[in-house]
Symmetry: C2
Subunit: 202 residues, 2 copies
């Protein structure tokens, strides 16, 4: 399968079945992520695979407490979007998914946050390749979650990725087209040389 | 080809041949990037494909001026690493590569920088898939480059990715192994359940 097909197939999943999932697929995906480029090749990332139900429970409890504060304060467009999508402070996927991948960036290295998110991009595609559903969940209280996981202070939690099998099936959110997001030479330069797409690599 | 093989094959390339490269492969890779997930599905990214030699020349000139200031100030481990790698303020790839992809994050959207770097991860893998060499170059003066390209102030340049065919062939930098970067359940929890890797998905 080409990358375009893989990337199109992947959707963010918030509802996981309780089916157990072997850790092998996750290790494969992290192995892909470890190949990502990084500032001065510092590879400023660390991964914790959390499968222990008790630890997942503590993470969920801490996240939901912080999310409740956030949802009480949020206003405007974002509040509308959240309500339309049926999102709330409840994060059941943090205990329902059989595994969580906590991804950390090591501070003080060049472009550590940016590099770590490149690796997260690799990771998400590789999880899809091995048939695992995922979500990039960003808790409002990354420091607190890092403490639960025993991370040192220079390791800052970037995301928690629940991983497992999807329960049910939701459609993918609409994406903008090339014409809407690509400029030629300068901002606003229109994409006119375009030939029929998608162009599949040989 | 599986993603692990693709990710392993990709190396950051700083030396490009002057061979022209069709823009189709780049459009394909951006189409893959457009499928990335983002905070509240805001897709807070924009791409400018720069092929005009005059504009590439202005970008190179502005970057090299800022790089010279940076290299005069840099000290310590990073300075040693740069010197070991033979890196300097000179950035010939900015004019030698047939195309540059300038990637912008739109400020004021939730997690716009993080989301954009996920998309950059997708983009780098897709460029490799279509046989195009690339580098994630982060100029010290992103605002100035944005102005050259006519970007509005809410669009902040994240990286310039030169794209083309590699001149010569350099080896890939060493990557850490799974055992060095993966923890189980909490920080320091060792990866003992591991079975032989790489595990290739069916």
């Amino acid at each position: 399968m080409g990358l375009l097909e893989l990337a199109r197939r992947r959707r963010s999943v918030r509802s996981f079945s309780s089916d157990p999932v072997e850790v092998h697929g996750i290790l494969y995906a992290i192995e892909v992520a470890l190949e990502a480029p990084s500032g001065a090749n510092q590879q400023p990332w660390e991964f914790i695979i959390v499968s222990d139900p008790e630890i997942k429970g503590r993470i969920r409890e801490a996240c939901e407490r912080a999310e409740r504060d956030f949802y009480e304060r949020v206003r405007g467009e974002l509040a509308e979007w959240l309500s339309e999508k049926g999102l709330s402070w409840r994060k059941p996927f943090l205990t329902e998914a059989p595994h969580l991948i906590a991804v950390f960036a090591m501070m003080g290295r060049p472009y550590s946050v940016q590099s770590t998110w490149i690796a997260i991009g690799y990771l998400l595609l590789a999880l899809e390749e091995v048939g695992l559903a995922s979500l990039t969940y960003t808790p409002p209280n990354p420091r607190e979650i890092g403490e639960i996981l025993g991370a040192p202070s220079e390791a800052v939690l970037q995301t928690i990725i629940p991983v497992g099998k999807e329960r049910g099936r939701k459609p993918k959110e609409r994406r903008y087209s090339l014409e809407e997001k690509v400029h030629i030479d300068t901002w606003g330069g229109s994409l006119t040389q375009r030939e029929p797409l998608p162009w599949t690599p040989s």
